[in-house]
């Protein structure tokens, strides 16, 4: 009985330890400790390597430190003890100069290697015999406080949710439209700033299907202070096998062909055409540069405005008073819209989908 209890206790503590360890890794959709792509993995390996080296340093320091503090207390040695006034030691100075140099070298070499590896975007412009680019390129434009993703070769544009194929390098052109932001998908790989005056280029690769994640998406963040709602400038990333991605692209391209059949439009769409279309497009065909986020995939999204729950209530609240939820954003408020109209618009927007 007692043995059994002990076993149970052991099992429990083991489980607890594992839980703590896993908790220490954070959440899969946004932790750099659970990398879901080669770039993130390279960076994670550097993290482990540097942590190990640094732990060695810390351990050495702490050992000397603890021994010194235990052995050489005045309370032990007596109030009148005058220690020998040692000047120093050339050998020791040499040791703790050379050994750190070696440790630093161990870190510096892979650092330089990965810096060049991750900075290599020469394949970005590679074209096949027909002149099509070989790799997927996404133009990212960061705006106060949302993200626009254009696929220039595919002629489509979307916002707030980046959709990418798995297991290939995806190249990014990054720029900011207003003030500086920074593009970061923690679980997939390190960030790059979106400057206002120049395009920054880098690549990431996505090796995990976002379907398996808690919310079905990876989390993306703005990592550069950009104004009041910097904290809310989130975006999401959907990853999928190449075939699925191609289907998605085709569906996106098809949104441009829908002609508005005046007789068939619902009330929501009609209201949308009156109040919203000036800033928001519902066709995914096009280029970057819209005033507001493209809404062609609105119904497929995980969040409203990047961070609010994806349901009609939240959407209505948002439309009524965007400033309340995302201070400093550029959307006008529609506080005077009737509840009925809001319902209709919400209904319509929630129905905008290329995946369903």
């Amino acid at each position: 009985m007692m043995m059994k209890g002990l076993k149970k206790w052991r099992l429990f503590s083991l489980l607890a330890a594992v839980t703590v360890f896993l908790a220490g890794c954070g959440q899969e959709q946004l932790s750099i400790l659970l990398p879901a792509g080669q770039v993130g993995k390279d960076q994670f390996n550097l993290l482990i390597l540097s942590s190990v080296i640094m732990l060695i340093v810390i351990i050495v320091v702490v050992i000397i430190y603890v021994i010194a503090l235990i052995r050489f207390r005045r309370s032990k040695l007596g109030e009148d003890h005058i220690p020998k006034q040692t000047e120093g030691s050339h050998i020791l100075e040499l040791v703790w100069t050379v050994v750190p140099i070696l440790l630093i070298l161990v870190l510096a070499v892979p650092t330089v290697y990965y810096t060049y590896k991750l900075g290599n975007v020469t394949a970005m412009d590679a074209v096949d015999e027909e002149g099509n680019t070989e790799n997927l390129v996404v133009d990212v434009t960061a705006k106060l406080f949302w993200w626009e993703f254009e696929y220039p070769e595919l002629g489509i544009v979307t916002a707030q949710e980046l959709v990418v194929p798995m297991d290939e390098k995806v190249y990014f052109n990054l720029i900011a439209a207003d003030v500086k932001h920074s593009f970061w998908i923690p679980a997939v790989g390190g960030k790059l700033d979106t400057n206002v005056e120049n395009v920054n280029k880098f690549y990431l690769s996505f090796e995990k299907d976002s379907k398996d994640l808690k919310d079905g998406v990876f989390y993306g963040k703005c990592a550069e202070l950009c104004g009041p709602s910097h904290a809310l400038m989130d975006f999401k990333v959907k990853t999928m096998p190449r075939a699925e991605f191609d289907t998605w692209v085709t569906a996106m391209q098809a949104t441009g062909e829908e002609t508005t059949d005046v007789a068939a439009v619902g009330q929501g769409e009609e209201l949308f055409q009156q109040s919203c279309i000036a800033c928001h497009a519902t066709s995914a065909v096009g280029e970057t540069g819209a005033i507001g986020p493209n809404l062609a995939t609105f119904g497929d999204r995980n969040r409203i405005a990047g961070f609010m729950d994806h349901d009609k209530e939240s959407l209505k609240e948002w439309i009524k008073d965007p400033q309340k939820y995302k201070p400093g954003n550029k959307m006008q408020s529609f506080g005077d819209m009737s509840d009925e109209d809001l319902d209709a618009i919400a209904e319509y927007l929630m129905g905008l989908s290329v995946e369903k």
């Binding site: 908790a23 954070g26 959440q27 946004l30 400790l33 390279d42 550097l46 993290l47 540097s50 640094m54 340093v57 810390i58 320091v61 702490v62 000397i64 021994i67 010194a68 503090l69 050489f72 207390r73 309370s75 003890h81 005058i82 220690p83 020998k84 006034q85 040692t86 000047e87 120093g88 703790w96 750190p100 630093i104 870190l107 510096a108 650092t111 990965y114 810096t115 991750l118 900075g119 003030v179 500086k180 970061w184 390190g190 960030k191 700033d193 400057n195 005056e197 120049n198 920054n200 963040k221 990592a223 550069e224 202070l225 950009c226 009041p228 910097h230 904290a231 809310l232 201070p327 400093g328």
Partner: protein, 624 residues
């Protein structure tokens, strides 16, 4: 101005402090000013942690939060840490090198008043309700886009305060170069004086870029300049470069004097000579030098290209080497010593592991590809608070307890000091250790709130509770200061009993002329050498008692700084208010007219008569 003690009214005392050119009094003014700003910055820190206590908190609004983080960073760096350290330099460095004052007492006073009015200017922004909100780095695109006058307060306030710092830096450099006592060679200088020298040299070369950058910002925001407006051909990255060419050395300007303080405390309370003195000096100089070579490691994610990133990665890692040398030398100083756990020493020994933690995470951040992940996350917050709080603030607290008796002639209460220490240290590690993981878990810095369900809640609670403990620690320190001042138990020359450097061979607090006779320095830790050879006073004079030349006090530095202060408002409002331009001109006129007055009016100082000094010596019943 004679040394005869006399009762004076409040007005006369105030006038004395406003016009003082005595380095010790100016040092105390710096400590007082810096201390007040430290408390303000601390309150701002607590507000930040309350806001981040739980997800979706609305303790402060998004805009206000950005103002608070900006002012917290700016205040702590420019208005708290720097002035407090400069305060210690002012009080202690001339005493350590056996000088009677700094090289330019008038400029010393000017430096203080410029810091004071610059800091005041920045904080007046709260009264206007238009507060800097682009982060302490004020990156250009955001700082240009920011509405209202918030960033104007930042640009002009820092300009004024920065000018004061530059003046202070030159002053300390000259003091150390020309005014060391006989026998005080460079390689006999106490480490704190050495770090003062190197930090001052860094101020000299790092602050002019800040001056230029702030002028650009001022021009762009207030006078139609286009430096950072890319639609007009400008470039925001220039600001980032200029800011960090200043900003990175600034970090070392802060940490080196803290190193210096610990390099005084550890030998004293280990009762043992600093191990590897020459190596420590060399490491200090090397850190100062390398500090200018690494600025772009703050910009790895800006897109400078792999070559620049690789170079700056390696140069950044190189700084770890001299820093490591210092750590090991401190350890070996304690090794074989006789360690006494006083409050300053507790800070010193807790500094070593704390700072090592901050140092190693610095090396990790120095690896560019890894920095792509960690940059602008809570990992960075954790890192630089480990260096700045774990290094600079612990140094400041240690120095406060250590030199308090020298500055005020009475000891801070030791048990209360140890309570402050315990609260502060535990709070510090609680606040910042967990933040490394917040960074790993994807939490960006400078976020006014965070959504639930990202796994960050508990860590933020822990962090906030830690901040509260730090706040309590500081509260106990303030109580300690009040109690100590009320009790006012006087102490002798060397209250710690193990003094090694010259400041411990003279009265606490020292006479306004510091040394009745200039000391003769016979080696490193000269006071210790004298004591070991049986000279109880620890002091050998290099000259007979004679008349001492001292500078006159002056109100001009304060008026000059005040001119800049009001001129700043003129610059800020010149575009929208009719009185703006006249006020700007008037302010600058006040400043330049004061300068001309100073220049035209001969000020030759005065002499303390030999008879007065001899009387002082007799009063004490002995010599020095």
């Amino acid at each position: 101005m004679s040394s005869v003690a006399q009762k004076r009214g409040f007005g006369a005392t105030l006038w004395d402090w406003l016009t003082t050119v005595d380095h010790k009094k100016i040092g105390i003014l710096y400590l007082l000013g810096g201390g007040i700003f430290f408390v303000i910055g601390g309150i701002e820190a607590l507000i930040i942690r309350i806001q981040l206590l739980k997800p979706n908190n609305d303790f402060v609004s998004a805009g206000l939060f950005n103002e608070i983080i900006t002012m917290h960073g700016t205040t702590m760096i420019f208005l708290a840490a720097m002035p407090i350290l400069i305060g210690f330099m002012n009080v202690v460095m001339p005493l350590q090198i056996g000088a009677r004052d700094v090289a330019f007492p008038f400029l010393n006073s000017l430096g203080f008043w410029m810091f004071f009015f610059g800091g005041l200017f920045l904080n007046v922004s709260w009264l206007f309700g238009q507060v800097p909100d682009a982060g302490w780095t004020s990156y250009a695109s955001l700082s240009i886009a920011s509405e209202g006058h918030g960033i104007d307060f930042y640009a002009i306030g820092l300009q004024i305060a920065g000018g004061g710092t530059l003046i202070g830096g030159i002053n300390f450099l000259v003091t150390i170069i020309t005014m060391r006592a006989p026998g005080m060679t460079y390689m006999r200088m106490p480490l704190f004086s050495w770090t003062t020298l190197v930090a001052s040299a860094m101020i000299l070369f790092a602050f002019p870029p800040l001056t230029v950058g702030l002028f650009f910002l001022t021009f762009d925001r207030m006078f139609g300049g286009n430096f950072f407006d890319h639609t007009m051909g400008g470039n925001t990255i220039i600001w980032e470069h200029i800011f960090w060419i200043f900003g990175h050395p600034e970090v070392y300007i802060l940490i080196l004097p803290a190193f210096g303080i610990f390099s005084e405390i550890i030998p004293m309370f280990s009762r043992k000579r600093l191990f590897g003195y020459a190596a420590m000096v060399f490491a200090t100089v090397l850190i100062g030098f390398l500090g200018f070579m690494v600025w772009a490691h703050h910009m790895f994610t800006v897109g400078l290209g792999p070559t620049a990133n690789a170079i700056f990665s390696v140069s950044t890692m190189a700084i770890a080497i001299p820093t490591g040398v210092k750590i090991f030398n401190w350890l070996l100083t304690m090794w074989g010593g006789s360690i006494k756990m006083t409050t300053p020493m507790l800070y010193a020994i807790s500094f070593i592991p704390s700072f090592v933690m901050g140092g190693v995470t610095g090396v990790m951040l120095g690896s560019a590809p890894l920095d792509y992940q960690l940059h602008d996350t809570y990992f960075v917050i954790a890192h630089f608070h480990y260096v700045i709080v774990g290094g600079v603030v612990l140094g400041i607290l240690a120095g406060t307890h250590y030199w308090w008796p020298k500055m005020f002639g009475t000891m801070l209460n030791e048990p209360l000091g140890k309570i402050t220490f315990a609260l502060f240290l535990i709070g510090f590690h609680m606040t910042f250790l967990i933040q490394h993981w917040l960074g790993f878990w994807g939490m960006p810095r400078r976020v006014f709130t965070f959504m639930d369900g990202q796994g960050w809640n508990l860590a933020n609670v822990i962090s906030s509770v830690g901040a509260l403990l730090m706040g309590l620690g500081i509260l106990v320190l303030i109580i300690n200061i009040i109690i100590t001042s009320v009790k006012n138990v006087r102490v002798g020359n060397d209250p710690w009993g193990d003094g090694r450097t010259l400041e411990w061979a003279i009265e606490s607090p020292p006479k306004f002329y510091n040394f009745a006779q200039t000391p003769l320095v016979r080696g490193l830790d000269t006071v210790w050498i004298e004591k070991m050879e049986g000279n109880k006073s620890g002091f050998t004079a290099a000259e007979p008692v004679q008349d001492i030349h001292m500078p006159n006090g002056s109100i001009i530095p304060m008026i000059m700084s005040f001119g800049l202060f009001i001129g700043g408002f003129g610059a800020m409002f010149h575009a929208e208010e009719a009185w703006g331009l006249p006020l700007l001109i008037f302010g600058l006129f006040v400043t330049f007219a004061s300068m001309a007055t100073r220049s035209l009016k001969d000020d030759l100082g005065y002499y303390v008569k030999k008879a007065d000094i001899e009387r002082d010596l007799k009063q004490k019943g002995g010599r020095n």
